[in-house]
Symmetry: C2
Subunit: 417 residues, 2 copies
């Protein structure tokens, strides 16, 4: 990153997106605080330290089917035409159970999940029998160990279940429960202040005078912060007044990061740029992307990371996705800070600027059972097309060297909401 004077386009080289991101991430550390939460409260949190199974899973040999536990050798010759009849000596349901044993010529009726009686080494599904309750005709020979789930087959006590940095969704929480855990160590949630700047901004729904617009950026940023698993500590609108901005920075409530929208470009009234520059610890960059070129990142005195994003709504969304979200996920302690991306067919073609990575708002569609993408609006990647955000499912990410996306090309998409 470098400080960019108001130089003619093309004179000052643009910073590649990846380089700008790496500069940010090198200045960001996980918060590091650990909390312990019950499984029921763990959804959406991030695992702080890896956890191991406390029990074997399953913790006892059990039946994978409703049927009969048998000695395989007893019924090795069974067939539909020549069933083998066994004496049913037990009826085993799932649930708390005493030890049971079967001997030669014996079987136990058994339900899915019930412990296998000692002596048994296979389960014959009820569908392969006459379903008898005192004697049962076995109509098909089981393979040895057929339909047995062995103790520890899924996990052994001490096996790693979840690794540090995972986001805890339904499946992972369930796996932790199955492995004997009752609570999990999770990372603290970063508290993020979001500030929309601009003297033109009024509250959503308020009457508009000439020169005024409805503030959408503070809602956009607050929602994006929450979607990233972080907490919004403060939501604010500030006019283009350096004094007001300095006052807020000086007196602000504690938080773990600050995101500004607007005021970072080369304009005379770009107060975020001017005020943040006074600290000497915030760098301004022109990044090789469309939209979102002007970017600011650094720290305030005390070390709070601060982001200055360009003010147009699409630029805010793109800049958040490219830079702020990876930084917040790093603070959260996530192992994976990149969203998975997908390659889908472009329904129509469009152009992308040479030498800049394009983030094109796209809407998903479907053709022949395959997901497709097309620009969300006719207006293209224009950074002021707030209405386009309404139609967008995410962004197509067009590499720097590509200037034309043709209909039928595979394009990379990241899905945001």
């Amino acid at each position: 990153m470098s400080t960019i004077p108001a130089a003619p386009d093309g004179v000052e080289p643009l910073v590649p997106v990846q380089e700008h991101l790496e500069g940010i991430l090198s200045g960001i550390a996980p918060l590091g605080r650990v909390e312990h939460v019950r499984l029921a409260d763990a959804a959406g949190r991030t695992l702080a330290t890896s956890v191991d199974a406390l029990v074997d899973l399953p913790s006892f040999d059990n039946s994978a089917m409703d049927g009969y536990a048998v000695r395989q050798a007893d019924v090795a010759a069974a067939s539909t035409d020549h069933p083998v009849v066994l004496t049913v000596v037990a009826d085993l349901a799932a649930g708390p159970a005493a030890e049971v044993a079967i001997g030669p010529g014996e079987a136990a009726r058994i339900m899915t999940g019930a412990p296998i009686p000692s002596g048994a080494d296979a389960v014959v599904p009820v569908e392969r029998t006459d379903a008898g309750t005192t004697r049962v005709a076995i109509r098909q020979a089981p393979r040895p160990s057929q339909h047995l789930r062995r103790r520890g087959e899924d996990l052994h006590a001490g096996d790693r279940v979840l690794t540090a940095g995972m986001e805890l969704g339904a499946g992972r929480i369930a796996a932790a429960a199955a492995a004997g855990l009752a609570e999990l160590p999770v990372t603290a949630v970063p508290q993020v202040a979001v500030v929309a700047t601009g003297s033109e901004l009024v509250e959503p729904g308020a009457p508009l005078g000439r020169g005024l617009i409805h503030d959408s950026n503070s809602l956009l940023l607050a929602s994006l912060v929450a979607e990233a698993g972080c907490a919004v500590s403060e939501v604010l609108r500030l006019p283009d007044d350096p004094r007001r901005l300095r006052e807020w920075i000086g007196g602000r409530a504690p938080c773990d990061a600050i995101v500004f929208a607007g005021g970072v470009s080369v304009g005379a009234h770009d107060v975020v740029r001017h005020v943040l520059a006074e600290f000497g610890t915030v760098a301004f960059a022109r990044v090789a992307m469309q939209p979102g070129k002007p970017q600011a990142f650094g720290t305030l005195p005390g070390g709070t990371p601060v982001f200055g994003l360009p003010g147009n709504p699409v630029s805010v969304a793109v800049s958040f996705e490219a830079f702020v979200r990876p930084a917040l996920l790093t603070m959260l302690g996530r192992a994976q800070v990149r969203r998975p991306s997908w390659h889908v067919v472009a329904e129509v073609g469009w152009c992308s600027p040479a030498g800049r990575r394009q983030y094109m708002p796209i809407a998903l569609g479907s053709r022949d059972g395959r997901t497709t993408a097309r620009p969300a609006t006719a207006g293209g990647a224009g950074s002021h097309l707030a209405g386009g955000l309404a139609a967008a499912d995410g962004f197509a990410i067009v590499p720097e060297h590509v200037e034309v996306v043709a209909a039928g090309d595979l394009v990379e998409v990241a899905i945001l909401w």
Copy 2:
């Protein structure tokens, strides 16, 4: 759907997944109640009715750049070698503004977002000038209308902004704000009761005796219901005791849907199947899928939809994804009840049963910048592999006619968490 006796496998034809889903959806209606929420409270909700812009967006012609508003004809001959000098008659910041006009030979310094003065028909970026404040040298001729954002260019008042049935994410909420809306009509959130059944179930973390396992299904279902945008009205564990189940059904708190896990197969103690069958309004099906074959769906007296899912955790997750989630999204009023799916390269091969749709838990990876998938565990699609849910990012969905997925094949994946 049809009632399935304990018939030998292959005798009773399996119901295709799509047919079973259509049967369920034909019995499900949107709740239909509408609430109005402020934009700040709308995240994750579903839009109840389409909404139109209340204002033009932008609502006045404004500058897309920091620079100078000019009369294009004045500077049509401007170049670096032969700049055209204009008199700067105004300095226009974004924000509340009186009308300003420029005449021949005049320019207005203008910031991004500020209203265009009358008389001006183009904006020259500051980088193409000497940045003067009383007189400015224009070094490049602008195209007509260059860097102007025209009133209504993004949206006109009355244009459709958001359509009924959309999930409200950050971008859509921001678009509503930009279009002049302060609140949105959203659908009521379905209240869903989840019930894990099985006498073998104990609370997560509790000591295990022989035959006992930790209940993971109630947490799994509660998390999945929440991830689907619905509310969990009750979470319950019940033993395999028909009397207890009848009591709960009879005395339950009001809710919009009930999801049972366990007890729907052909076992003698499959009490959910036995008790729900007493109502005569619940159908049991053997569905052509792996895992998740035994499925129950119907309504209780009074009309509450009820799902009976097989009890193994992976089967619960798959059944929820295939049947319950689309039904809950229908109740929510979502226009789109299918998750977008993606085709990615399989890193390794695996087998899938003939004639059944396989849902294979997969972990995502990456190769050459492309997302890839591999089975989450060596155990494959085995329905009891709760530990595998820990490693899974989602499921690969292998069509009924495919019996072998080879390394390098494109497979369809649905990403759950």
